[in-house]
Symmetry: C2
Subunit: 234 residues, 2 copies
């Protein structure tokens, strides 16, 4: 399916998304964008700054960092669009993961956005990285499809609403099912995007970018982490 230029990418962000889930793929896409025009939207419920890797509400740390004594280890990024006014006819919807995906209420608007867009103006691709697959599973759009997710959180993702309709692949750096690309945890997202660049723009381009990033890539089926966590397909 030919991609239009500029490519319109919409990345969904929410409090306590995992930094590398987003910024690894964006690094590769940024280098791609030097040769292939694209626009990126960072989409959240409001335009308020979004805390990375930690949730801070009224000065109190929630989520993965709640048990640590490092409340000030948090970065903030600025959304560029709200879920309500996000650009239409996106070529790609990109869903990173992170401990924030475990906050069902905070991510319900994102889940609804995925469902609505896939039903009414389907993107050419849906990408999930890490536990971003939990949001896609909750939206119902992964029903009947093969997918993968973070290996440390694999068994949790399988418990979210809608996850029992998904064929979860344990040993995979990433999984492609039609236009749905889902990666394993954190760093795996960058390998997946390099794989997607190869698929879409060819090996020379993906290698140019990988070398520019000095990235040590794993192939699609090369997943040493499933075994570490003792995971099998379901």
């Amino acid at each position: 399916m030919p991609l239009t230029a500029p490519l319109r990418i919409g990345a969904l962000i929410f409090p306590a998304f995992t930094a590398l889930d987003l910024f690894g793929p964006l690094q590769a896409l940024n280098l791609l964008s030097l040769a292939h025009p694209m626009n990126l939207s960072l989409i959240s419920t409001t335009l308020d700054p979004i805390s990375i890797d930690r949730t801070i509400l009224d000065g109190v740390v929630h989520g993965m960092g709640a048990n640590s004594s490092s409340p000030f280890f948090t970065e903030y990024i600025l959304p560029t669009a709200t879920l309500e006014d996000a650009p239409h006819d996106l070529d790609v919807i990109f869903v990173p993961g992170g401990s924030g995906t475990r906050n069902q209420a905070a991510t319900q608007p994102h889940v609804d956005f995925i469902r609505d867009r896939v039903q009414n103006e389907p993107p050419k691709y849906l990408w999930t990285v890490c536990t971003g697959a939990a949001l896609a599973a909750r939206s119902g759009v992964l029903a009947g499809k093969n997918a993968t997710t973070n290996k440390a959180a694999f068994n949790w993702v399988k418990t979210v609403e809608g996850a029992d309709e998904v064929h979860w692949i344990a040993k995979a750096r990433w999984v492609v099912d039609g236009n749905y690309w889902t990666s394993s945890g954190v760093s795996a997202g960058t390998d997946m995007i390099l794989g997607w660049i190869e698929h879409e723009y060819g090996r020379n381009e993906s290698e140019r970018i990988r070398i520019g990033m000095e990235w040590n890539a794993l192939d699609q089926t090369d997943d040493p982490f499933a075994e570490i966590y003792g995971l099998v397909d379901s």
Copy 2:
């Protein structure tokens, strides 16, 4: 040298720093911070939002993205401190790279900060990732030391003021010279920080974090990129 808790890390940011230079190491440190208290400051000239990977001035794209037609592929992060009011007695000064390092005027305050801190209240460690080494070289603090930098930009870095006083190591994922840790380009910074975590907290901790990030690591001397760019030591 024992580290105090909480560990105080100050990362210098400037327009068009490279996303993964900063966020790869911060991902590892974030996971470390769950067990070892630390505070992170993101330090810039002002508290205004900082554009990642591109420089945007008055709506015009500068730097690496200037020749592309993707002006809207830019993310913004919020600094937490200015160079003037940054926390004192930092344990670590962390200098990422990126096309923004080529803007000598915009980064001169950061260069002055590095020189001033190293002279007057030396951090326990100075880390540079990618072309962050160019800022450290300009500050003079790398004079007489072994260091490395981004392989695509290696020959440019060797031309900045002060760089001729540095022993540049071409084939290295990262280089340690005393308390100065300098990495090769982009992804290499994350390998270096995992190496630093091993050095400081032990192999179990660095492996826990690497596995949590599903990161495919390269060792300190395992640098396949120097050869690609035909680089030799100087």
